[in-house]
């Protein structure tokens, strides 16, 4: 659905990363993995909407965690409480939770957005379920929302490229390490990953090599977000294109070709 709504909050939580909270109508219902297309303003420069994962949902309210990248996100960061924004959503499919397995959530950078929502949702339905959350970033300051994770009793396994907190190295190295030392057992876990393409690629490789069930959230330049413009294609191992906005953004890692 499309609607115009109000900014409830829009604040920088760490360097160039913002937390945006928006009012949504009663009928709005979202699942982890889904996204919205946000209209920046009435100008034609920039002209396209911007896709953002929903990183939290409660009645009449969604949360978006976004990084300032270019023109569009910069303008969004200037929005003040009470400003109007136009939204299309929720869009796309969602993560499929396999209750029989331990969920291992792997986030790179702002890829944490949909996984935070996923983690909260899993916690909502089972208070004691073990949730493994691997969070990779450049440096310590990029590991944000620690309080929020704590509130939902989710323990973070952190990796930073330049070190300073947690594991020093890539989040995928941490994953390998945890698999190697049998902290994580392939047949007992299911991976849910979101982050930069390189990370998704590497995780998909590890998952396929070790036979871990794995879902990844993909990104693409999007013209419409609703399956019409045919810009957001992603190659699959079966030769056919999938459309990330409607067939995804969540895919089983075994079918996609990055």
């Amino acid at each position: 659905m499309m609607f115009t709504t109000k900014v409830l909050e829009n604040k920088e939580i760490t360097a160039s990363l913002y937390y945006l909270k928006l009012q949504v109508p009663d009928k709005f219902n979202a699942m982890p993995g889904q996204f919205v297309m946000l209209k920046i303003n009435d100008s034609f420069d920039p002209i396209l909407r911007r896709p953002f994962s929903i990183s939290g949902f409660s009645k009449n309210r969604i949360e978006i965690l976004y990084k300032v990248i270019g023109k569009g996100t910069k303008l969004i960061s200037h929005k003040k409480v009470g400003d109007e924004v136009n939204i299309i959503g929720p869009l796309g499919n969602n993560f499929n939770i396999d209750n029989s397995k331990i969920p291992v959530l792997i986030a790179g950078g702002y890829g944490v957005a949909p996984l935070l929502f996923l983690a909260k949702n899993i916690r909502k339905y089972s208070k004691n379920k073990k949730i493994v959350f691997l969070f990779g970033a450049k440096s310590k300051k990029d590991i944000m929302l620690r309080k929020e994770f704590k509130k939902y009793a989710i323990t973070l396994n952190v990796a930073t490229e330049i070190g300073g907190t947690g594991y020093k190295g890539l989040i995928t190295d941490l994953l390998k390490y945890l698999l190697d030392n049998k902290t994580l057992l392939p047949e007992k876990i299911k991976i849910y990953a979101c982050g930069p393409e390189k990370m998704i690629k590497e995780i998909s490789k590890i998952a396929s090599q070790t036979n871990i069930s794995c879902e990844v959230s993909l990104e693409a330049l999007m013209g419409c977000g609703i399956g019409v413009c045919l810009t957001c294609v992603c190659a699959t191992k079966f030769g056919l294109y999938k459309h990330i906005c409607i067939d995804g953004p969540i895919f089983d890692s075994t079918i996609i070709k990055l």
Partner: protein
């Protein structure tokens, strides 16, 4: 009562607001946002004889007040279109125009023959101007850039079908009136203009084109002034009704095209930004006519006021 109805050749539209090929799929997605019965016409995404996978991604670049796309005519092919997509579209009381694309005259003719036997189609739009595929013509120019090829193609298709025939022109020509006349002489019933402009964008960090296909088609408000001028030029050169296309994002934009000489307009890129835009444009046109006490939209077509000595 204000009359919004217009005729594109024999196609009767309840209002002049259509959607442009390739920007509305086969209508399914937008039916969740708007009542498709309210549209003047739906032009479907270009259909080819066989299914096409389209170009490699990335296929889109945002530019200032526009986008470059290089979809490359990805589509389900005419047979699946008829079996699945057209079935869905048929339920609406809205004219369905099938846009077709081919690499050779033969392909176009085959497509037309298949569509001849199909019910529920109000007309055919031939796309002789897609900037995203390579043609087997001299210099790889599109059919629509060569008046002789345009004439021949139009005439051959004309012979092959009784369905109303719309030709969609490329703006990348020296004198669009020459092409327009070729279509008129070949027996076209109407003209659509314009298709996208070939354009390019470069990632200066990697020094690679931003589109995998290198070039793409520019659409959106950026091209509107060019499109309006081409519509006006063609309106003054041929008798055929014109479907004005290019950067229409509001009723005001649509009215500019109509005053310049367009009998109807088609909305493209704007659908991506606002799925409800078509209905807003229809309402806006209605309000304008009421405010200006014009009771028939046809009075507005080509009504641009120009002092004689300036022509």
């Amino acid at each position: 009562m204000i009359n919004l109805g217009v005729n594109i050749g024999e196609i009767k539209l309840k209002n002049p607001v259509m959607v442009a090929s390739g920007t509305f799929g086969y209508g399914e997605e937008y039916s969740k946002y708007i009542d498709l019965n309210k549209l003047g016409a739906i032009v479907v995404k270009s259909i080819t004889l066989h299914p096409r996978e389209g170009n490699l991604p990335p296929r889109i670049v945002e530019t200032s007040a526009g986008i470059l796309n290089s979809i490359g005519l990805q589509n389900v092919g005419v047979h699946t279109f008829i079996k699945e997509k057209l079935q869905f579209l048929k339920q609406f009381k809205t004219a369905i125009i099938v846009n077709i694309a081919g690499n050779t005259v033969q392909e176009f003719i085959e497509l037309v023959k298949i569509l001849n036997d199909t019910s529920g189609i109000s007309g055919i739009e031939i796309n002789i101007s897609c900037p995203n595929i390579k043609y087997n013509t001299k210099n790889h120019l599109a059919f629509g850039q060569n008046p002789k090829l345009t004439y021949k193609l139009t005439k051959d298709i004309r012979k092959a079908t009784k369905l109303p025939l719309i030709v969609k022109l490329s703006p990348e020509v020296t004198d669009i009136t020459v092409i327009a006349k070729a279509c008129e002489d070949g027996g076209a019933d109407a003209l659509s203009l314009i298709n996208t402009f070939p354009g390019m964008a470069i990632n200066i960090e990697t020094r690679e084109p931003k589109l995998a296909n290198i070039i793409g088609g520019l659409s959106g408000p950026a091209i509107k002034p060019i499109a309006i001028r081409l519509v006006w030029k063609v309106f003054n050169a041929v008798q055929l009704p014109i479907i004005g296309i290019g950067g229409i994002f509001s009723a005001e934009d649509a009215l500019e095209f109509i005053i310049a000489g367009a009998t109807a307009v088609a909305i493209g890129t704007a659908n991506f930004v606002d799925p409800e835009i078509t209905l807003k444009v229809i309402d806006g046109i209605k309000n304008y006519l009421a405010k200006h006490k014009i009771n028939n939209i046809n009075q507005l077509i080509g009504s641009l006021k120009i002092e004689k000595e300036k022509l």
